[in-house]
Amino acid sequence: MSRTRLNNDPELDDFLRRTHEIDDQRKSHRKNDLPPMKPKPSLFNQMNQFNEKDLNEARNILQDSDLIEFNEEMVIDGSDQNDNNLSYKSAYNYEKTFSPKKKNYSLDELDLEKDTNESISITNSRKDNCNNQDKTDDKTFSVSKEDFLLLQRLKKGNMKEHQLEKPNRIQASERSTKKVEEKLEAAEHEISPRKQTMPSRGKPRSESVKVKYNVEIDLDAPSLPARRTQEKDLSEKKDDNTMFTRRFNKINYNREEEPAPPKLPIRPAEHVTVASSKDLVELESEDESDKPALPTRSRARIPQEEARKPFIPSRGARAKKEIPTIDRSTKYNAVKELESRSSPMVLTNVAPEPITIIDLISNEEEEVEKHANEKLVPSKREITSKSNMFDDKPAKPESVTGHAPPPPPTSRKPHESVSFLTSLNKNKLTETHDSLPATPKKKVALQGMDYLDSVQLKSPSPQASPNNDKMPSPMKPKISKIPRSESFIDSALNSKLDVGKKSNTSPLVKEKPKLPVKPTKLSNEKVNEEPTQLRSFKIVKNEKHDIPNKKLPVVPPKSKLINFETPKSVNTTQSKDSQKERLQNDNKIEMPKLRSVNDRDTGKKQAPGVPKRKPTIPEALINGQKLKKTDVNLKGNKSITTGESAESQPEALLKMQNLAKSKVKPAVPQRKVSLPEALKRANQLKSKRDSTPLDTSTNIVISTDQSLETINDRLESMIALRQRNTFSGSNTPSVPTPIRRSQTTISSNSTPGSSTPLVHVTKGRAKGPKRKLPSKI
């Protein structure tokens, strides 16, 4: 998976560039051109519903973090700016689909499920309140539920900070956070242009929209005066607070209802998180010197990696290696403080999203490779298997113990910014290791079956499923050895290796003989064995199961029990070759060919003796003489019947006489004509034949008789004849030839007088009245 994404890097880069350019253009355009069109939000009329306390709280929150503003803005003002929405949606969707970071903060990990109901209720209530803003409701979902929930949590934390002012916080951290806040406030204007220039792709949700919101606030001073006041003074404009009270009243409501979570120390992290993300940018700018080639990436990397470091046990050393610069500065401590803080850390993970996917993939690939290497070690597997879904908990303290105060482990779960691929890998690994003993069947199918594995292991996979039903224990570990999701090519290679091994050794078949070792008792177990083999044979048709079939007859006790069968076995042994040949022949459809080949082979084997006999000519002569003798005998019989003259006459004439007897006798009237008359008629016919060319069978005669014909006519007739001969010769040369002659003769006879003019019937019809010719003619 990771390498496939690496292959898509150029496309992603192109897309990132485009989105950056578009965002920059839009932002610059917005800055230059103030949008006067923006109407006031309809919520403004509904302000009276909310409490002033909530307003203050909201203001505090809004002052503290821009993210809250962003979310609010996105919720409320999303419908007003279609351009922003489009760009935001495009970037967001792209990130949602392609970026693996998206899964860093799932609801499960962040433990936001608790708040989901609340948040949803909030949104729904907000929908109810904001009847005019149906479009904005859609925007809430476009922001993503996780972000919204995180923001809700932040809000809660801030609210409780300001209200309760618990002393539990570490003052040093507060100081650091305040410092960071100051730095942020000071650096916002400095960083904001960078953020603007930065593409919104890396973290489209937070930063890009932050900038939008800032711009909108600046531009929409009349529509949203409260925010300006928030920036300036919190206490001055309480009327404007109604907007925010309305936004957060339900948050407060839910917060009041629910008990405060133990994660309260997180509150300062809100400030810190935002500040840290931006301070880190500064730090990263320093760090960028180490990595000049990718300045923008480093800014985003650090928080992510920092967030990841503690979570992944194996990364501990690696993370230190990767981010040595963080250890230098004191801000790394702040970062660790952030890490130690449970929920707001998520924001840190969220905020630095502008990390390019390439970096992510590269880091993740390294992680994956390391994991893969780690996987080979069983001890680490065990660790991972233990930790699987929950392994990160113990892993965190290992890495963080030295630095950060021990936060509650539950709060760190949401902080886990494990990347998508790493999480997948871990999950797979853990699943496989955990599941091997417990639930082998289903997981065997699911675990290591990559695409290529599935393709290449099609033949064994069906075997495994039915065999597992009967023999689960031996089969599973071997299949579990199949490479899981280490990498695409590795899996492919390993699968090929496995396939090759399977094809050569047929592990399934090997395993089967292992089973009979167990049932060594008696026939019942053998009977149990046989159906298994048979079933396997049925399932796997192509593979060589002749061996087990052969083993079945080999079963000695049967032969020993029945003594009478031994001579039969002798017979079978004698005819084994013939039986094999028969079986082969039966398998092959082309029986006659093989037999003919065998015959020839036998003939060839006898060939040394044959050439002595080979003088074929005398044999032929002998046969011919024999044939003649038979004919002669027949003739002799007939000649005896007919008479002496038959010796010289051929058979045909004799037969003709026999036939003529029957025919001639009824043809008696011919004899009535006297011979002289017949002669006369014959002479007349001859004379006629001589006179006319019709009786002639050749064209030459025609030409001779028709001496008057011109040479052209003769040539034409000859050409016509040849053409017809050639034409008819293709079909049937014998039949049409006489027809041609007759036709030619007829045509030759008719040619001189055949120039009969066409009969024009219209020539003799009425010609109509006398009329003048048309002018056109």
Binding site: L758, H760, T762, G768, K772, L773, P774, I777
Partner: protein, 276 residues
């Protein structure tokens, strides 16, 4: 070469030329031999043309050489030439006599019904002209049915009715059917040709009154033309379509024989291989 020979040669030539281009070929021949123009125009049947009679509510009438004078054609409905001729030319232009005109009107009406019954559309026109004898007359009955400019059925019945005496009349009908089928939309198939047949029949016409005689002529001519057209239609069906069907079957049979020969060759090869 006599004029008759030229005339025959021209007719022969036109018989052998493309019937679809008969008009062009005729004009070319007339340009070559202007002397033969009158004979050729009267004896060569060209596809009929349609004109409208403005004096009878633009009713269509068919135009041929028999109702032509100069460049105008006489309408059977108004008995006028369209486009109208100059009075000088019109004075010399042929018109049927009043008696024959009455018969012409009846013939047009009756054959229009016939046309409607048999053609279910199209146009029909009947033109009569007088012959030397008062009782004799000649004429032409024209029918045209065209679904498009390229698909036409033109039937031209040239009639000669001569009184052989004692109430017996000889009806001589020379029928020419010009069939032209083209389908340019789907394919380049063209099927066009002329078929001309002449038939005679004698009828006894009883009656002294002109009306009775006219009715008798109309009935006799109608039955005669009806029979001739049906026969001609059958002939066309056999000549054109059966011939094309024969050609089609010939091609098909040739294909069949080819396939059979291939099968036999294949069988021989298989036998040879089996014998190896």
């Amino acid at each position: 070469m006599n004029s008759d020979d030229k005339y025959d040669a021209a007719l022969d030539l036109l018989r052998r030329l493309d019937p679809a281009k008969a008009k062009i070929n005729l004009q070319n021949l007339i340009s070559l031999e202007p002397e033969l123009a009158e004979d050729l125009l009267s004896s060569i049947d060209l596809p009929l043309t349609i004109k409208q009679d403005p004096k009878s509510s633009n009713r269509d009438f068919l135009c041929c050489d028999y109702n032509r004078d100069m460049d105008s054609h006489r309408s059977p409905w108004s008995n006028d030439y369209f486009p109208q001729l100059a009075p000088e030319d019109l004075a010399e232009s042929p018109f049927p006599s009043d008696k024959l005109r009455q018969l012409e009107i009846l013939c047009n009406d009756s054959f229009d019904v016939y046309r409607d019954l048999y053609y279910e559309g199209g146009v029909s026109s009947v033109y009569l002209w007088d012959l030397d004898e008062d009782t004799d007359f000649a004429g032409v009955a024209l029918f045209k049915k065209s679904n498009s400019s390229t698909t036409n059925w033109d039937s031209i019945h040239a009639i000669e009715v001569t009184n052989s005496g004692n109430g017996d009349y000889n009806y001589k009908v020379t029928t020419t059917i010009i069939l032209q089928l083209e389908n340019n939309t789907t394919s380049d198939l063209k099927l066009s040709g002329n078929l001309t047949r002449q038939s005679e029949r004698d009828f006894r016409v009883e009656g002294n009154k002109d009306e009775q005689i006219h009715l008798a002529h109309i009935t006799n001519l109608g039955t005669l033309i009806e029979d001739i057209e049906s026969q001609m239609r059958d002939m066309l069906e056999t000549v054109y379509f059966e011939k094309t069907r024969d050609i089609f079957h010939q091609n098909k049979n040739s294909l069949v024989t080819k396939n059979e020969s291939e099968k036999t060759a294949q069988a021989e090869i298989v036998k040879g291989l089996q014998n190896l």
